[in-house]
Symmetry: C2
Subunit: 327 residues, 2 copies
């Protein structure tokens, strides 16, 4: 019997989960839940679409619910709510608010004797567990995280709010010389400006003051003023043609020393190059949905994060097969 | 109270564990056990040295025993034997014999109500778990493992057995163009020769036939004949000066596709650059000794591998601290 998975929310992430679950031989899609009019949605794979508020009625047909809403407004409410009736997985990514989100979801899951997982994805997610492994193995060391080359949705939105801007896409780019220094084991101290640059592709309204837009971008506090930022004005056609993808990625490093006199240097690098940020996040969510299903069968109720899950729980093979084939 | 760790065996790996445990604030070294005359050994940090056969008498003073013998002859006997009285960790690395080693150690541990972990290190070990995570997240994909640049002990030993060879060191080197192709997402099919080259530094006996030695190396089946191999004859002094280290490392890749038409490509790379292979392995063993201690306190008896251990068990911080600081 396959693991019966449902999706709540059908944006980029929800569509990514639809693809990821389709690619997992031991999983099947049961239902999609939406806040829009269900009749207005046709899913790519033909999974039936229901109104969000009808989900509870179907709880016996669903092993794991993957929540595909946004971290700012949707998940803080949705995840604890769904955790009352379902095993759930979300990709909550507001780092500073993880402890309170965890507490709310954990309480709901324990009460309902269900399993939940929050903050599943690549950062938080795969990057977090690489920080954990790296720090545990090399206690005498230093962490580095770089992001990109990839599209930052938040920075793209910030540009779009500037008067005279019709559309925009912002790429975060790690500085090559900084990466080289870290990989060479130089343990550099890096300022914000030394780690990443920002490249912006902007479509201006007709007659807009381009110099004013550029100045508004590069001097914008928090978003751009601490970075070397490049602004390119392009046509709407070029933006659509060249910048419609949502690539992302990055690297987590742990650089540490061992030995009687710390004479030996070790560098651990975990690197992601992703053509589609939401599809990769969806693939991580789907692998962890398998873990949630297994933990629920074991009765390990409550909220978990990627740090609490043994790798074998993610893989479709049995522990015996994994020891034989993969260890 | 600190985790009380003992070491069995004082070769390169045992000395590495001595350093790694010293660097872990929540661990302390209780004892070193050896098959040599204990009086003949002075440990760097002053830990007391005992005969291997006296270990059992000290079982109440030791939380975890880290076994630092070799995989060929020592560990298949030692690990099941020590598992009768101790929580143990070993770095058994004969991939093909892992299932039988697991079965023997598991039986001993369950009977004794102890926890054991086998095959802890970087391959098997960290590389294995990256294969597991990669396959689980990107089921539609391909694995690549490269080793080096690093010293292969087995290949160095094979050269030393050739008549006329006084000493030798062999480096395994990944082929740069193969790495570039994998990182570029080209999903190449790579033969053995296309993945790695081998570089040998050989000290010949006086008057030895160098051409014969070189031919014996490059044509040696299994070890060298499937590779492009370079042989350098150097002096004993140069070997000592330039090649006394034991660096190693490598990369595990998972290259996979997602999307309705598999149109999006994702590349996960885990890379190690290690100045000292035994010291890094020792650092991994020590982190997993912490996990073994915690599992033993929870009563999770039996044999485990890195695939069975949630990342949080390795880290000195509590799950709450990890969620706040690291996730």
């Amino acid at each position: 019997m396959k693991i019966r998975i449902a999706i709540a929310g059908y944006g980029n992430l929800g569509r990514g989960v639809e693809n990821a679950v389709s690619a997992a031989d031991d999983c099947e899609l049961t239902a999609l839940f939406t806040r829009r009019d269900p009749k207005s949605i046709t899913t790519r794979t033909g999974i039936p679409v229901y109104a969000m508020e009808d989900a509870e009625k179907m709880k016996d047909q669903i092993d794991v619910m993957i929540l595909c809403g946004g971290s700012a407004n949707d998940l803080p409410v949705q995840t604890p709510e769904f955790a009352k009736h379902f095993n759930v997985v979300d990709s909550f990514d507001t780092h500073a608010r993880i402890p309170e989100h965890f507490a709310a979801v954990d309480a709901a899951s324990r009460q309902a004797k269900k399993v939940s997982m929050i903050s599943v994805g690549w950062d938080p997610g795969m990057f977090s567990l690489n920080r954990c492994y790296g720090q545990a193995i090399l206690p005498n060391g230093k962490d580095y995280t770089f992001w990109g080359r990839g599209v930052s949705q938040g920075h793209s939105d910030a540009i779009r709010r500037i008067p005279g801007v019709k559309d925009a896409k912002q790429y975060t780019i790690p500085v090559e010389s900084a990466l080289e220094s870290v990989r060479a084991g130089e343990n550099p101290e890096l300022s914000t400006r030394e780690k990443h640059t920002r490249e912006c592709f902007v479509v201006a309204e007709e007659g807009a003051d381009l110099a004013a837009i550029e100045k508004a971008i590069v001097t914008m506090p928090n978003y751009f003023s601490d970075y070397d930022t490049t602004v390119h004005f392009i046509t709407e056609e070029e933006l659509k043609r060249e910048h419609s993808g949502i690539p992302h990625g990055g690297m987590v490093f742990r650089c540490g020393n061992t030995g009687a006199d710390n004479e030996n240097r070790h560098i651990i690098e975990y690197r992601l190059q992703l053509d589609s940020n939401p599809e990769f996040t969806a693939s991580v969510l789907t692998a962890y949905a398998r873990a949630v299903y297994r933990l629920a069968k074991e009765g390990q109720y409550g909220c978990k994060t990627v740090l609490d899950i043994a790798p074998a729980y993610l893989h479709p093979q049995t522990p015996e097969e994994l020891r034989k084939n993969l260890l």
